[in-house]
Symmetry: C2
Subunit: 144 residues, 2 copies
């Protein structure tokens, strides 16, 4: 259904409820979601959402993913305190990827780094290019 | 293996060949790749890469994906002429997502828009927020 917007002018719209029904969740009921810091435009992480986490995120304004490893809703920041406030949600042309423009409290990465994309591939090496903002030991202890 | 870098200082590195062997390709041999315009930091698209497309992208400096619908290598721009020059490749902390910092020629989206993420979810509507740079009819005709 989202394909209908391909030829839309700026400002034309469709009902979200109907688009939601037509999103291309994969065979596990999941859709990839990219989190980008709304002001610096840094890409923070990529994770997965199911229908419920998408709806909760829009309702609460606080990003909720679906954890594939734990097989349950993952309210970002529930153990670290480092939440993501939703500023804007976008969908791609195919309706198979979500873009979340967020305001990230502290680091997005479990290593304590702002972004999960801190490994750079260059000249046959993979090098770390970002230092932690805070030690993960402190990050996860302080909320337990 | 990429998890070894979690506690690395900035500048510490691993051999790419070994990291490549340990990347978390899914059951179809694919890994998601986010393309971001290197200077404006706009997110252009999300697509999938297999091992061969990853290696080709690094070798040629021009982004190559794997098309799930066509089940073959997809040299971005091969039909539209709108190529992506690779400026930098990054990996996330889990080794299951690629970030491509690129210089996109013209639009990244098949609709002629700069980015594929031109649909905004807001107030129970999905609205188009970006106009095409060029008509897709012209975009795809001119290289045939």
């Amino acid at each position: 259904m989202i394909k209908e917007t391909e030829k839309y002018e700026v400002g034309q719209s469709l009902p979200w409820a109907e688009v939601l029904d037509s999103l291309l969740f994969n065979e596990d009921g999941l859709i990839p979601a990219i989190a980008q810091q709304f002001d610096s435009r840094e890409i923070l992480m990529m994770a997965w959402m199911n229908r419920q986490s998408l709806e909760e995120t829009l309702q609460t304004g606080q990003v909720c993913y679906f954890s594939r490893s734990r097989q349950k809703l993952w309210r970002k920041g529930e153990s670290s305190g480092q939440i993501q406030l939703l500023r804007e949600m976008r969908l791609d042309c195919d309706g198979d990827t979500i873009l979340l423009l967020v305001d990230q409290t502290g680091p997005a990465c479990h290593t304590g780094r702002k972004s999960c994309f801190y490994n750079q591939v260059k000249d046959d090496r993979v090098s770390v290019i970002q230092a932690p903002l805070i030690s993960p030991d402190i990050l996860y202890r302080k909320n337990q």
